[in-house]
Amino acid sequence: MNAIQLVVDALSLGSQYALVSLGIGLIFGIMRMINFAHGDLIMLGAYALVVPTAADVAPPLVGEWPAAAMILTIIALVAATAVLTERFAFRPLRRRDADGATLLISSFAVSYLLQSVVLFVHTGRPKSVSILADLAQQMQIAGVRVALVDVVTIGVTALLLIAMMLFLRRVRWGIEIRAATEDFTMARILGVRADAVIALAFAISGGLAGILSLLFVAKTGVLDFRMGVPLAIAGFVGTVIGGMGSLFGAVLGGLFLGVASSLLQALLPEVLRPGRDAFLYGLVIFVLLVRPQGLFARRDTGERT
């Protein structure tokens, strides 16, 4: 495989993981809750592209709308679902000072609930869907052919990260999210509304999940009710190795995991490739043994009273 192709592949997967990690990291930073249902939000956004049916072939629904309408609808739909899960599953627990383990179990329940609903409506058989057909083309970089969808994934991720950075640094709501991430109780003492800041974090996290639904389907063209699970796990691992509680670390952690995964896939000897994930997660264990606080955590992260 050509070096440029390899880099594009690695950055494309890294971008996907970075977006998942950021979505999970936003919620974790404030609530100290690992939202495993995040991956299923991505799945839900993907299924919203087609008509709900038990038939083997699902005709497109939102998926055949004009691109702008489709993108905005999926983002809004997934963001709204994320906010609803917070409102009805997590907020009542938070109000009663439930610990992280209870919230984690609740997020598992939400995850299985979403999967089961899709399984019930669509059956467990994977379906295919084609969106944003223009992205299926190849493009030339320095004479090398690469998939346009990968380049777009990298570009969209870069733009989203810049937009998020500006939001978190320049806009009061964004600054309040960072304050809540650093010391939630102190932010509340200063008047930051817990419910509002958490609902906002879920909306953004859901919006990121919706964008990922589109990028993922544009690349693979496949719908599967379990498609969110490996993404959630990768995102969560990215958050941990990046350094929990640091949004910047979460992004870099996700990127690191995706790039490492792609490089292993390309560089491992043929005979070892099926065991790629064993190498990948072995590497994760090694990273955590050497830097338990995460790769990019600063000394002041994770502290909480």
């Binding site: 309040e176 304050a179 650093e182 010391d183 102190m186 003492i189 930051v192 817990a194 992260t301």
Partner: protein, 239 residues
């Protein structure tokens, strides 16, 4: 009364940290809580701010009960707490710390007057406006913590251990600030370990001992008592 606390009991698990405390703070007063470590001073302040939930008793602010309200509700009613350890957002800039605190009263842009007062009292904050708050010295962080509470435009400001770990020049500055805030009409509830400082500024003083009020009175009256230090360190009051 601006603040009235009646028969307050606060527990950590099953262990009571504060047992049956009653006290009040009138508008415009400076009231000081003194007492050794673990006497229950910070616990009481966190219960007033809504961070800890009372096991028993009532807390009334501006004549309404605030028990069960969230910290942000209580902040909106006009309680500004500078907690023990200051708890500034160290990864954020001075400006961002102030932005968070001013959200309650419509953002930092509309608070020029308060901001001018802050920069007048604490010029270092203007100088370090865009520096990371975590890089400030302890004394500068205390100034930032008080500035944040000022931007909440509270009716009652509670400051927990304002002089803990500070160099004497910063302690002077902080106390000068309190005097100025009092002159502008703000009501202050201070928690101190240093008795001399507390007695010099406060109108009234409560001495806490193992979760109960062992002694209270006007500052001048307490200052003249010979057994104050004895009680402070856990002894019984003379009859």
């Amino acid at each position: 009364m601006l603040l009235e606390v009646n028969n307050l009991e606060v527990r950590y698990g099953t262990v009571p940290a504060v047992r049956d405390i009653s006290f009040e703070v009138a508008e415009g007063e400076i009231v000081c809580f003194i007492g050794a470590n673990g006497a229950g001073k910070s616990t009481t302040m966190l219960a007033i701010a809504g961070v800890l939930h009372p096991h028993r008793g009532d807390i009334r602010f501006g004549s309404r009960s605030i028990v069960g309200l969230t910290p942000e509700d209580i902040a909106a009613l006009g309680v500004g707490l500078v907690p023990e350890g200051r708890r500034i957002f160290g990864r954020m800039t001075v400006r961002e710390n102030l932005v968070v605190a001013s959200g309650l009263r419509g953002g930092i842009a509309g608070q020029k007057q308060t901001l001018d007062l802050i920069f007048d009292l604490f010029p270092i904050l203007r100088e370090r406006f865009d520096s990371k708050a975590g890089n400030l010295s302890g004394g500068e962080q205390q100034q930032l913590a008080i500035a944040r509470a000022m931007l909440m435009r509270p009716r009652l400001m509670i400051v927990d251990e304002p002089s803990l770990g500070l160099a004497p020049k910063f302690v002077d500055l902080v106390y000068k600030t309190f005097a100025r805030l009092r002159d502008s009409g703000l009501t202050l509830l201070l928690v101190e370990q240093s008795m001399r400082r507390a007695l010099s500024l406060a109108n009234r003083v409560y001495l806490l001992q193992s979760g109960v009020i062992a002694l209270h009175g006007q500052s001048a009256e307490l200052a003249s008592r010979g057994d104050l230090e004895h009680i402070y360190f856990g002894g019984a009051a003379a009859p």
